[in-house]
């Protein structure tokens, strides 16, 4: 990928995060308490490495970093987005491997969740640049899936409290989500195939019509 594109995507994401932090002194304070820390996110398929540098309550996003790393995450784009953007803290069944300080990860997840940021646009832009629109679309759908899901969790008011008090999700929930994503992907592929077929028959029909119109 052209580094100009990834640099642009990371720069805009970074600006969004820091501006959201400036409007949320509580979260910024929590971040500042973490001191100087670095998280490395290795996305495999598509391959993108991002370093999240935290210092003095500010976030920097980079593609290259040569200093010490406190925590490293490895997983597919879907699995990582799932882990980072849902309110779930559990790594079990998430498909993400973690090396180093999981404490840092949990803290960051907590802060990220509170921040008022629309992650969808910059993330799908970043992924779209690397992997093309299909994966970006998938992530986009994944994100809105979580949004709706979380909204509905809140609506079930009786359960809402206990849901929130739990530190780890029920494994079924993650399974559930993974299945939903698989389903979505299959549906998407089927849809694409149908569209292809339709296009094909449309073209055939047009050709036939053209030939029929041609004077003998």
């Amino acid at each position: 990928m052209d580094p100009t594109l990834s640099t642009a995507a990371l720069a805009s994401l970074e600006r969004m995060i820091n501006s959201a932090l400036s409007y949320d002194p509580g979260s910024q304070q929590k971040l500042r308490k973490l001191g100087s820390k670095t998280l490395q996110i290795c996305c495999q398929g598509p391959t993108i490495t991002t370093f999240v540098l935290i210092d003095d309550g500010q976030v920097q996003l980079r593609q290259h970093y040569e200093g010490q790393i406190d925590c490293q995450l490895k997983g597919s784009a879907m699995a990582l987005a799932n882990l980072g953007l849902s309110s779930q803290h559990s790594l079990a069944n998430s498909g993400v491997q973690v090396f180093g300080s999981t404490g840092l990860l949990v803290d960051l997840q907590g802060i990220a969740k509170d921040l008022d940021i629309d992650w969808e646009e910059p993330l799908s832009q970043l992924l779209g640049d690397v992997a093309g629109p299909s994966l970006a679309g998938l992530v986009r759908k994944g994100i809105s899936f979580w949004r709706e899901r979380e909204a509905s969790v809140w609506q079930r008011s009786g359960e809402a409290l206990s849901e929130e008090l739990r530190a780890t999700p029920h494994p079924y929930e993650l399974e559930d989500f993974n299945q939903a994503v698989d389903q979505l992907r299959d549906d998407g592929e089927r849809l694409a195939a149908k569209v292809g077929k339709l296009q094909h028959s449309l073209e055939a029909a047009l050709n036939a019509a053209k030939q029929g119109n041609q004077p003998e």
Binding site: D2, P3, T4, A11, H64, G67
Partner: protein, 253 residues
């Protein structure tokens, strides 16, 4: 023999061939003339993309707190500004340029942004750097090398003042890999840039020089070889924006 001599003593000023002694003066005129509006033009010409190219350069520099950095041909100090934050109070950044008009704009900008203490401003020629051997952990030259009369001399001079293990980063216009992009870029730089230069700085010639000097600059692999020949190790480059710009990196062994 005399013909050979003549060949050695002329060089390119954009598309013109000029005496070697003359090029530096002509380049100086260009930058004296554009200094005041340089930052504005940079943003307009590149649609702000030069900021991304520079940001990536900073990432690849690996510069850390406490290090010493030379930003040669640093002009109005974009890279210096970022480095001064990275090296912190224990480190040092030298903003150097041959042209005092550019340095003056740079110095004012740094003061304006509240940078002080760890930045030193120095008027210097990249070919004859006035620093002791093995001084810097990192040297950057951004959009500067193509203006230098003797690039080999400059590369060797930079190698000398780098510490062993230190790295040189050359950010420079280069050759787009895609012929279509090259065409579009040519049209942009030869028609659009001088016109914009005339509108904003009242100086089309300077921006025509810019376009021509970009064209005459060595392509990716030539520059990489030049760096190896000068003594740099592990030379590599990263194309950006389809190769319109390339970032070359070399390490002093």
């Amino acid at each position: 023999m005399s013909e050979h001599k003549q060949e050695q003593e002329t060089t390119h000023f954009g598309y013109e061939t000029v005496d070697k002694g003359e090029k530096a003066g002509r380049v100086a005129d260009v930058f004296h003339s554009v200094a005041a509006k340089y930052d504005l033009m940079n943003d307009l010409m590149s649609g702000g993309i030069h900021r991304l190219w520079k940001r990536y350069t900073i990432e690849l520099s690996g510069v850390r707190a406490g290090q010493k950095v030379l930003d040669i041909a640093g002009g109005t100090g974009d890279l210096t500004l970022k480095f001064s934050r990275l090296v912190g109070p224990e480190g040092q950044v030298v903003l150097a340029d041959i042209n005092d008009s550019m340095l003056k704009v740079g110095r004012d900008k740094l003061i304006d942004k509240g940078v002080a203490g760890n930045v030193q401003v120095s008027q210097a020629d990249a070919q004859f750097l006035p620093f002791a051997d093995n001084t810097f952990d990192c040297i950057t030259i951004a959009f500067g090398l193509r203006n230098v009369t003797d690039k080999d001399l400059a590369l060797r001079s930079m190698l000398r003042v780098l510490k062993p293990g230190g790295r040189l980063l050359v950010l420079e216009f280069s050759k787009p890999g895609n012929p279509l992009l090259e065409k579009a870029y040519d049209a942009y730089s030869f028609a659009f840039l001088p016109t914009m230069g005339r509108l904003i700085t009242n100086d089309a010639d300077s921006y025509r020089y810019l376009a021509e000097s970009i064209r005459m600059h060595p392509d990716q692999n030539t520059l990489k070889d030049m760096m190896s020949d000068a003594g740099f190790a592990a030379c590599e480059y990263h194309n950006m924006t389809g190769g319109i710009v390339a970032l070359h990196k070399g390490i002093k062994p």
